[in-house]
Symmetry: C2
Subunit: 220 residues, 2 copies
Amino acid sequence: MELNQVSYFINLAETLNFTAAARLSGVSQPSLTRAIRRLEDELGGPLIYRDGKNSRLTGLGHDVEAEFRRMVVAMKSVRNHSEHWAMGGHRVLDVAVAPTVGPKEFTAFFESALAEMPSIEIKLHSLQSNEDTSEVLSGKYHACIMPRETRPERKLDVHPLFRERFVLGCSANHPLAANEIVRGEDLLEFPFVDRLKCEFRDRILDHFARRDLLMRPRFR
Amino acid sequence: MELNQVSYFINLAETLNFTAAARLSGVSQPSLTRAIRRLEDELGGPLIYRDGKNSRLTGLGHDVEAEFRRMVVAMKSVRNHSEHWAMGGHRVLDVAVAPTVGPKEFTAFFESALAEMPSIEIKLHSLQSNEDTSEVLSGKYHACIMPRETRPERKLDVHPLFRERFVLGCSANHPLAANEIVRGEDLLEFPFVDRLKCEFRDRILDHFARRDLLMRPRFR
DNA sequence: ATTGATTACGGTAGTCGTAATCATA
DNA sequence: TATGATTACGACTACCGTAATCAAT
């Protein structure tokens, strides 16, 4: 079964005349005759009663026509779609933002990007906790915004977007409340909780390890 | 755009792997690669990002996949249909019966026919007044049952099914009431109405003409 | 070294158009 | 004779498979 056979048959079903159908299809009459015959051979039965000016579709021909029309519709839809696409039509950019970051930090950037490229639509997703940059490689998202830099990957473009300060929240009469700057070393004097699920745990462990500081968590 | 390209692409969209898609499609890997490339050339843009184990469909690829699946569904439907048809599946026979005749005369025949050919369904239609045997030639009906024989047509099978008697209805003391048989000549003695729209008018005119009898209608 | 995709190339199948043939009105 | 469909035949396109090449892990 070939698509030219399909469109030939549609034209034949509309004209019930091989000559006219061939003209509609832009091929010679023998070519259309052969195409229809091949179709009939493949489907195992005649599609049209050949009877000069009284030609008419067989029952099978009627049934087949309906399905073929669906195929032609789908095919035209593909052509339309790809044409619009090629013309720089609508494109959707799926961007995932980690929940810790929150998209509101970037609304200004998104707005200017949308203004600059009117043919682009940006769809924001919330990056799930079990997802990471591999979701970009697999194609689920086109880009993602994360709270920490990832290990460099050749296949990924990684750009630094922002820096975040770590801030200590404590009571006003806490010994550290007076410090303008609180270093990691200062923190080690006090008991702390090791939150295994903290997004920044790896980075903080790494930070202290590089400074040869020993962390002694009091709770876990 | 060819149907093999369509099914190749469906397989590729499911596997995201040219080698696996080629195996599924039953062709060599280079052949599938070329088919996809031709498709992309025709549609004017890439359908899949080629990236080893991280290959993924483009936006256009996603859109095209949906439409292509519709085409494949329609194609499979055609195959199923024609297969059932070839297996002696369901066939509908459209039979038109002239309203003068009425289908009830043939219910016994239709019932026996249905019993004999279980794969056949008979659909009865009422033959409209402006329709005749040409509706069979044009394919609207497969057969029609008419109250009079038509002129012989090479393209039509004509079979006599029944004979109808013409009966005189009159009052008991009418001069003709005593006759066992009423001949046309007997009728000519009496005034009668020439019903131009009578279905049998032509046949009756012909009948008298062949006997050199002059009809003198008193009303029209 | 292995997996995955593309390019090169010779062979072949299938489709096309022209022209001839057949059938019918 | 004119219209419509099929068959015959030579030509060409385009697809396929094998094999080689390129790229990345």
